[in-house]
Symmetry: C2
Subunit: 370 residues, 2 copies
Amino acid sequence: MGFEVSIGPRIRKSPFFDATVAAGVVSFSAYNHMYFPVSYGDPMGEYWRLVNDVAMWDVSVQRQVQLRGPDAHALAQAVCARDLTEQQIGQGKYTPMVDHSGAIINDPLTLRVAKETWWISIADLDVLQWCRAIAGERLLEVEVSEPDVSPLAVQGPKAEDTVAALLGDLIRDLRFFRYTDAEVDGIPLKVGRAGWSKQGGFELYLLDGSRGTDLWNLVAEAGAPFGIGPGAPNPIERVESGLYSFYGDNYDGSDPFEVGLGRFVDLDADIDFIGKAALLARRARGLRHELVGIVFEGPPVSSNEDCWAVTRDGDRAGTVTVACYSPRVDGGANIALALMDVPHNDPGTAVVVETAAGPAAGVTATLPFL
Amino acid sequence: MGFEVSIGPRIRKSPFFDATVAAGVVSFSAYNHMYFPVSYGDPMGEYWRLVNDVAMWDVSVQRQVQLRGPDAHALAQAVCARDLTEQQIGQGKYTPMVDHSGAIINDPLTLRVAKETWWISIADLDVLQWCRAIAGERLLEVEVSEPDVSPLAVQGPKAEDTVAALLGDLIRDLRFFRYTDAEVDGIPLKVGRAGWSKQGGFELYLLDGSRGTDLWNLVAEAGAPFGIGPGAPNPIERVESGLYSFYGDNYDGSDPFEVGLGRFVDLDADIDFIGKAALLARRARGLRHELVGIVFEGPPVSSNEDCWAVTRDGDRAGTVTVACYSPRVDGGANIALALMDVPHNDPGTAVVVETAAGPAAGVTATLPFL
């Protein structure tokens, strides 16, 4: 359609904002009260760069919620539905968060930064206030704040070569979801092997918001021999990889089991957290809907502006949350993530996707596609 | 600068989205996980229409958080820093919300819809989850949900004529911040005399999200004789009127006194609410900064992309959160809202505004300007 995004101070600019403008960003979304660069105008180029080489993208919108103080661990464990007992300093875990009813409210990577300091790297919801509410109600001795931390993602098969060129070969030894301190040109960083793609790579947490352009340019320079270019969390690769996007890929009330995150919930560990009793009850009851894949026919779809209904014999059976054309699935096919109502969630179910261009025959599939 | 806004299902469209597109919207912001139409491309026309005649705008982004059940009143009183004891059904109150430290987290209009049902009409923060956190921690018997309610604002000196033409002359008797049920062409509404301008007017709460275009067109038709046209919360009129915008016009940690909302906080009533003890301590300590006005020199500014520093003798003294050119203040002047550090908050203080175009001499002023 083509509307402008209004740029003003009520939504915050990333430290990389100017660099993304210089790199040719064409469209923004908003996320956690920040502008979020989502396209540089070449969807397939950005996709292949991520899949074959290396892409860099601004995910400052993954704000960190810092818990610091004697009760930081207690608060982190209260708000995360995963066992953090043995978590080491420098270790991150993918931690679904649920409310008291068991409904998912976020799916951050939660990092133990120091003995009494945790960072929760959040999806688009005000987890800062959620954590303050719990700390306040429980009289916990913990400071909950948003530190000056802005992630820059480097993703793709040549991400390791890029980051090694920037920070040295020692970074190659970093294990998955491990973070270490680093510095380049006087810019303080925390670097982890992580990122929202299945192509491998790193997140560089910029720890000085005044140095965003400097860091962007250094990464671009280090990655130039490997074909680096700007990108964003990739809408095609993430659907192929079955990567869940909080808020977009769930209903208000969906639980982690229903969006495919059951394996990250520790209901049988000797810990307590918000929503544990509710999740035990939900596990016993079973799913109401499930996030699954769909492969569907018709001309290639570039994206979906709205959610689409999924039907069986004319009756509502689910909701497509995101759709795209994958050049790699089945040698080229339309694919989608969909919240399918039980019992329409079984793989291989014939369905109709009510796309913006009309109905299209499809079949459900297990995730990931690739 | 001119970037596109990415339209996709992760951010929700308003029920009025199609109508605003048909009306010629040119730019969107995002607010409470929804697209928020903010300009139709004629800033001064939209301003004068509001000031002289009547404007209509989509504020579905003011989502309602519904509290329903035996403990609904208890939860509403816990989260609002204002005495709700005597609040009648159909009555709204402007209610700052603070966290346990006394920091402002929202400034909704809170409406008693029924004996055990309240609607909190929120600014841009996840109050739904905040209320669920408190209800969950306190084991309150209350359902916290987001109902199908989407406000459409009709504002300006001819708003009453417009709404009377739509709904009948009885609506003229509605008092300020009072809401009543109504229906037009089978569309269920709740109508209140309220709105985010000082020009007078109404908010029509659409209670059936499938009828957005119908309601929009009926309002446009009813207002045509009075010169109605599309608009948005107006950036000039709201600065002239000193209307605070949550999130944009405060720091993380600002309290209601510091943003000019002290008179809406009931610290001396025989009630308890979250943050009361902290606010008593803050009242005793005094302000750290204060939201005030500034009139400043230089060529007319249309808006500010970023916050601007305010200095005195070269030292930081505050922050401009929003700036514009007012054709009515002092016969035409640049004006701004600014968070001025104490003691630089006194009216009449000579300051320098570090605008994007360079430094400009200014002087602080009491709010509102008009």
